[in-house]
Amino acid sequence: MFTKNTLKPACALVLTSLFLSGCASKIENVQGKPSVYEDVSTTGSVGGVGIESQDVVAMTDQMMRDMLANPMLTGRSTPPRIIIDNEYIKNESTSVINTNMLTDRLRIELNRAANGRMIFVGRHFSDMVQKERDLKRDGAVDGGTIRQTAAQAGADFRLGGRISSLDAIDRNTGTQSRYSQVTFEMVDLELGTIVWSGLYEMRKAARDNVVYR
């Protein structure tokens, strides 16, 4: 049926196509090694309806970027002095969260990104500063190398805010749903006006029996 002359090209064609298909892709599309570390900005292996690391990262990142785009805060010829701490952040929600996580991350990231466009007053360190000032003025230590001022820095703005939530539970399935709302407001410390506001909200539903501590 096949002559020798027709079989040879056919075989060569088959071999060539096999070689070519064997070299088709260099990508090895496999999963890497499992790790105990997880990305803080994405949903982890344990997740519930509360405020979690990815929410903390996302909301503080969003607020930081928004503040830097606000001309009332960063468009001034003299950089404003700002206090960001958890003194006026109230957690009225059912979520268990240390509000310092929000304000610390926001202040640190903002301070790094602002690069002098805002000046941050460390009011939560005021005791530490006052002790050193007293030692200097008492002559127990020398005056340092930078400067002496009449008093500690007063602030122009301070961050306030509130965390609130609304829970719902389906008794048939046990699914729990929680709407969380986190507000941030920057208050003028002379006038009492609010010069900037930020809102972060989310609703999560889960049946996982996750305990937050």
Binding site: T3, T6, A24, S25, I27, E28, N29, S41, T42, T43, Q54, V57, A58, D61, Q62, M64, R65, D66, L68, A69, N70, P71, T74, G75, E109, R112, A113, A114, M202
Partner: protein, 153 residues
């Protein structure tokens, strides 16, 4: 003999055409996006379930394509304080709401990564509708951007 060769050739051509029509899965290593060069001022679907293309090979004019979401438009504009705002308008072609997350990496004019570490921002695109993702830079220098979009886990 000639008839046999002709039949085999016809079968081979048909097979080639059919294989060109086959849909590549999101995990396929033949997807064009896997090895596409990184370009500035662009939007990429890093989740290939949302959008993927592949070469159909010899004899096929167009590349193969499957998508659930598509890009309507994107761009950047300066804010009042000189930072950069990037916006991306996405379209959902399915009958289901899609929850996605997106992030923006900023680069200076020389292509050097700058600005703060990008963070995934969640958003929902309603069924058969559009939604806009926005991101602000923290730096006031002129920037280029690359936005990445994936489905929310």
């Amino acid at each position: 003999m000639n008839t046999l060769i002709k039949s085999m050739a016809a079968a081979a051509v048909c097979l080639g055409l059919l294989s060109g029509c086959a849909v590549k899965s999101a995990s396929s290593t033949d997807l064009i996006e896997r090895t596409a060069p990184i370009t500035m001022n662009s939007v990429a679907f890093t989740d290939y379930n949302l959008q993927r293309t592949w070469s159909r090979g010899f004899g096929q004019v167009e590349d193969g394509e499957r998508y659930r979401l598509s890009l309507v438009q994107h761009g950047q504009r300066p804010t009042a304080t000189g930072t950069t705002e990037v916006y991306v308008v996405l379209r959902n072609h399915t009958d289901y709401d899609y929850r996605i997350e997106a992030r923006t990496q900023f680069f200076n004019q020389d292509g050097v990564p700058t600005d703060v570490k990008p963070t995934w921002q969640r958003s929902t695109i309603p069924a058969n509708s559009i939604a806009t993702y926005r991101e602000l830079s923290t730096s006031t220098q002129p920037l280029q951007y690359r936005v990445e979009v994936r489905e929310l886990n």
